[in-house]
């Protein structure tokens, strides 16, 4: 499949390369880039008052009569079989309605794995779900207990007697490396990139670095636990209130698993308390829905924090080799990036840590290749900036090492290798201003005060250092996004699609967008999302949702123009104008050429005797991302202190300078960038899943023992951006969800080196590594 995929993507790119830009979506810049009113303005999030007042109802807060509550029971072994299963004590405990095990679970198919060729396939694992006695990873669900109250369910769960026959699991990364496999592709990219003779160039280079970098398992810790509330009407109609970042795809997959007609399932998820790649479709939704059907009652399942660690995948550990060769002037002659990460065959997420390295620098030769390690674990999954967050740690540490070795300022070294086009494909950048992001950021940060000699700045026992790093995250617009516009006679509009609001401001930003697109004030537009009954939006992932939904609204607005021109007829100031000659402006339709020829929506609809006009359309195929090199760029600066006594690190300042096209809402964007950067601090300094390789068991499944940064770990964070619109994307915008974390790990590690002279190549940078 992957070889075929490589061939298809490759040939589409070739064809698109020959095609004139005007023929493609994004061929002519979105007119709203020049003509915006609400877009780019500071607008407080529209759902803010609801959230502050506690009135935003999340999946675990939906009210129901006769609600039942479920608890999961997990396997404590990684490999083997259940040999004894006694549910009698649990079943006779007070309030218990159902104990679901592999004996009583209905036979179902597992969901198809997330696929680049089928966007309705969204499974994170295709292992059987409670279908047999076999144990395949430590933490696998072996039973679901349902009772009248949560406490009764939790208690009954402790009364199950389960015995296991243990088999030797594959849980040791180093052992499994020997049997690793080499995939043909990573997401939509070819895995193996070989340009020139990189190993030979490296051996002959005037300057070189060649090192191994290691990053640990990490787990998802969204503030909102995974949760759903399930309602069946009889056996054939299902409503699920879920905490999900893939509403429409989940509805499609669940309909298939439970044999439902598409219009008999509804997934609602108007508010999600953080996704980050972890709120996909996992076993718990399928188990809860199956249990609710069996008992004929509404059911709620809220995962405990421990359960999130046990059955929701996290970020794979990696061991990465980065080698860079450079000539006497610092121009890269060889760039080598490869290594190992975990990806079970039953999982869907390759940790593509080398993707960023393909677009960051010009080099005479490249050798890039990843290997997958097979372990008996819950499948790892997408976690904020999958690939790039940790790939940039390795690559950007290596660049800093080379700069130090050569005695060149690390920014200067990077700028000497700044590519003019995509370094591998040769595709032109749609818009690319890393140089400016560096220059602006360095000036604001005061990079000039940095001492290049490590350990040169002290304050008492504290050594002070500065570091920087850059990162790249690809632009994506998902195919198939649809939106509906309903224009009402009073001149107001409702725009709707099943987009996901995980707290980043989607509903606010798309309301701003729709207002500008339709030429209406913000107060006259409602944007509806979070419901699979609405026109289907793709999942929120890969920093693609804003562009995907925007593309759908653009398509719907174009259709609306056609409809309004037709309705306006011959008694309108617009008479005789064709759809291509008008635009939506000032609460109505107006001639592009002649501002005086304009008619308000209310007038058009009134004359046509219509209460409303409704159009639905699907966004154009996202061919722009194949023709152009489109990337969001980060440049991160860090200043920190390291105690000479204890090795403790205290970050004093963090600055992110971004080049991501148009910033649609400075307030929500700043929050999203900062959130990513704080997550980057965790990645750099504190986060590590303690995966016991003897048992395959996660030993710190709690916020007390898995350290994410606390307030005191987070300094003042400054955020700035170039704000240069991308002429090839809707609204001129590229994704900002994942670029915030990208580069932070290396910026911190490089600052630690600058402070102490110690190079830490293994995350997290804990104090023992600096003693």
């Amino acid at each position: 499949m992957s070889k075929v995929q490589n061939a298809i993507v490759g040939s589409v790119r070739t064809v698109l390369g020959w095609m004139p830009s005007q023929w493609l979506p994004g061929g002519t810049p979105d007119p709203l880039i020049e003509r915006r009113a609400a877009i780019g303005r500071q607008a407080s999030r529209l759902d803010g008052p609801l959230k502050v007042a506690g009135k935003a109802r999340f999946a675990a807060e939906v009210i129901a009569d006769r609600l039942s509550y479920a608890t999961l029971v997990h396997s404590p072994i990684a490999r083997g079989r259940i040999t004894q299963l006694d549910t009698s004590a649990a079943e006779s405990a007070p309030g218990v309605i159902l104990v679901l095990t592999h004996r009583t679970m209905p036979r179902i198919e597992s969901p198809a794995l997330i696929s680049m060729s089928d966007f309705s396939a969204v499974g994170n694992s295709d292992l059987p779900i409670l279908q047999d006695a076999e144990i395949r990873y430590n933490g696998q669900v072996v039973a679901v207990v349902v009772a009248d109250t949560q406490e009764q369910a939790d208690h009954a769960a402790s009364l199950l007697t389960i015995a296991y026959a243990r088999e030797e699991p594959a849980t040791r990364f180093d052992d499994a490396k020997a049997k690793s496999r080499t995939p043909d592709s990573l997401l939509i990219e070819r895995n193996h990139v070989s340009v020139g003779k990189a190993e030979r160039e490296l051996a002959q280079a005037a300057h070189r670095v060649d090192n191994l970098y290691r990053t640990p398992w990490q787990n998802h810790n969204a503030i909102e636990l995974h949760a759903l509330t399930v309602f069946w009407e009889g056996e054939d109609a299902l409503t699920v209130h879920d905490a999900t970042q893939m509403i429409a795809p989940s509805a499609a997959v669940l309909a298939k698993i439970f044999g439902l007609k598409k219009d008999r399932i509804r997934v609602l998820s108007p508010f999600v308390g953080g996704g980050f790649g972890g709120k996909g479709l996992w076993d718990h939704q399928i188990l809860a829905i199956a249990a609710a059907r069996l008992i004929g009652r509404p059911l709620r399942l809220v995962l405990s924090r421990e359960s999130v660690y046990r059955i929701i995948g996290g970020r794979s550990p990696t061991e990465q080799r980065v080698a860079i060769g450079a000539d006497a002037e610092g121009r890269f002659t060889a760039l080598i990036h490869g290594g190992h990460s975990v990806m079970p065959t039953y999982g869907a997420c390759p940790e593509a840590y080398t993707l960023g390295s393909r677009s960051l620098y010009r080099a005479k030769s490249f050798e890039i290749l990843q290997h997958h390690v097979e372990l008996d674990v819950v499948p790892n999954t997408f976690m904020r900036a999958p690939g790039e967050a940790i790939g940039s740690f390795a690559m950007e540490s290596a660049v800093d090492e080379l700069a130090h070795r050569m005695g060149i300022d690390p920014i200067e070294l990077r700028l000497r290798n700044e590519p003019e086009r995509h370094p591998i494909s040769g595709a032109p950048f749609s818009q690319h201003a890393r140089r400016q992001a560096f220059t602006d950021g360095a000036e604001r940060f005061g990079w000039g005060r940095r001492q290049s000699e490590p350990g040169a700045r002290c304050d008492g026992e504290w050594r002070i250092g500065m570091g920087c790093a850059t990162g790249s995250f690809p632009y994506a617009r998902m195919p198939g996004a649809a939106a509906r516009i309903t224009l009402r006679r009073d001149g107001s509009a409702v725009v709707a699609c099943s987009a996901q609001e995980m707290g980043m401001g989607t509903s606010t930003v798309q309301t701003q967008h729709a207002a500008d697109r339709l030429g209406l004030p913000l107060s006259d537009v409602i944007f509806e999302l979070g419901d699979s009954a609405l026109p289907a939006a793709p999942m929120a992932g890969g920093s693609s949702q804003t562009a995907s939904v925007a593309g759908a609204i653009i398509a719907a607005a174009e259709k609306l123009i056609g409809e309004l021109v037709r309705l306006a007829g011959n008694d309108s100031p617009l008479a005789g104008l064709r759809a291509g000659e008008v635009r939506l402006v000032d609460g109505g339709v107006g001639s592009i050429e002649d501002a005086k020829r304009h008619e308000a929506y209310s007038s058009i609809l009134a004359r046509a005797g219509r209460e409303e006009v409704t159009v639905t359309a699907t966004g154009s195929p996202p061919l722009e991302m194949l023709k152009y090199a489109m990337h969001s760029t980060s440049v991160v600066f860090c200043e920190l202190r390291v105690s000479d006594v204890t090795g403790e690190i205290r970050v004093d300042r963090l600055l992110g300078s971004f080049d991501c096209g148009t910033i649609l809402n400075p307030q929500t964007a700043t929050s999203q960038f900062k959130g990513g950067m704080i997550m980057g601090l965790g990645l750099a300094l504190t986060e590590e899943t303690l995966f016991d390789e003897r048992s395959g068991r996660i030993m710190n499944p709690s916020l007390a023992d898995y350290h994410i940064p606390v307030h005191l770990d987070v300094p003042e964070i400054e955020v700035m951006w170039t704000g240069i619109p991308d002429p090839r994307s809707p609204l001129g915008a590229r994704g900002i969800g994942e670029i915030g974390i990208t580069g932070v790990g290396a910026a911190v590690a490089n600052a630690v080196f600058n402070a102490t002279g110690k190079r830490v190549r293994e995350l997290p940078i804990t104090l023992d590594k600096l003693l």
Partner: protein, 326 residues
């Protein structure tokens, strides 16, 4: 969590009567967590938060702190802040504000280790939780484990910050039981594991902690608590040091030192104290004393760095305390 009955003791006498057949509940910040995890499975709880929470001066000029006093109340009390600032700092270095508001002094003494294997009922062996079952920490994650005072049965650490300061302050624990009242020095209150890691304190069945008593102290000016951990707040100590001293004619006169994070109990560093008493303060002397104290340290695969970290931290604290600006 299992079904559990709950009763309140309204007086010390009542608490003693109830203690024999129930588990005592203070703020619940540790016990209730462990009940949720199935580590603790009491069938009857006796709430002792109605017992004395008073913080008052003793006739001898010391301080008596009722067992039910909240950690945050102790840390904020003017007498504690002026006479025993080290205690205030140690308490504030622990947990979070919310936890400190609930947690009691008696409960703090009784809190149990945060060893990951101790907490994992379903998946791990633990001699403390289930005597004789084995120890998965020895070959597993033991970054937070002991380098001194441990045994082959158990290397778990006592997690308290407050108790480290109390150990250095020569505090004692007032205990009331069916046989009457007794007082135990805090340094003797917790036991080392040897081959019985499930026995953590000298408290006998039916005994209740009434109060903690701290003697008068001439040290306040030169006392300090430093905690080293994996993030800036809300993490247990890798190493902590409580120390206080007096100088006379440029030499160390009296000195008391306790370590946290390196032992199954608050670790009073008697050997280091003896080495330093009467000596002139210097970085070399501090490090030599620390080395002497840790000469028998037996680290595990994941915590060998603590030897160096403990030495350096003690050195830095003593350097700070003997400085001229004190």
């Amino acid at each position: 969590m299992n079904p559990v009955s709950y009763q309140r003791a309204s007086s010390l006498t009542e608490a003693v009567r109830m203690a024999g057949t129930s588990r005592l509940l203070g703020g619940g910040t540790n016990l209730v967590d462990l009940m949720r995890k199935g580590v603790e499975r009491p069938s009857l709880l006796t709430d002792v938060t109605a017992l004395s929470a008073a913080i008052e001066e003793t006739e001898a000029g010391g301080l008596l702190i009722g067992a039910a006093a909240r950690n945050s109340s102790v840390a904020a009390h003017p007498l504690v802040r002026t006479r025993y600032p080290m205690l205030s700092r140690a308490i504030l270095a622990g947990a979070s504000a919310q936890v400190r508001n609930m947690a009691t002094v008696g409960g703090n003494l009784m809190q149990r280790t945060r060893c990951l294997y101790f907490a994992d009922v379903a998946g791990s062996r633990c001699n403390k939780r289930e005597p004789g079952s084995g120890c998965d920490a020895a070959g597993g994650f033991n970054r937070y484990h002991a380098i001194v005072g441990a045994s082959s049965a158990c290397t778990a650490t006592h997690p308290s910050d407050m108790c480290v300061a109390l150990a250095a302050l020569d505090a004692s624990v007032r205990i009331v039981g069916p046989a009457g009242e007794r007082t135990v020095p805090l340094v003797d209150f917790h036991r080392l594991p040897s081959d019985r890691p499930e026995l953590e304190t000298v408290l006998e069945p039916g005994e209740v902690i009434e109060a903690v008593e701290i003697p008068a102290s001439p040290f306040a000016a030169r006392s300090g608590y430093r905690k080293v951990r994996d993030r800036a707040s809300y993490a247990f100590a890798l190493v902590s040091v409580a120390a206080e001293l007096t100088l006379r004619e440029g030499r160390i006169d009296e000195i008391r030192i306790a370590f946290g994070g390196i032992a199954p109990k608050p670790w009073r560093a008697y050997r280091a104290e003896a080495a330093l008493r009467g000596s002139g303060p210097s970085g070399e002397a501090f490090l030599a004393a620390a080395a002497l104290e840790l000469a028998d340290a037996a680290p595990l695969a994941g915590n060998a760095f603590k030897i160096e970290l403990a030495k350096r931290t003690l050195g830095a604290v003593l350097t700070d305390l003997t400085g001229d600006d004190r």
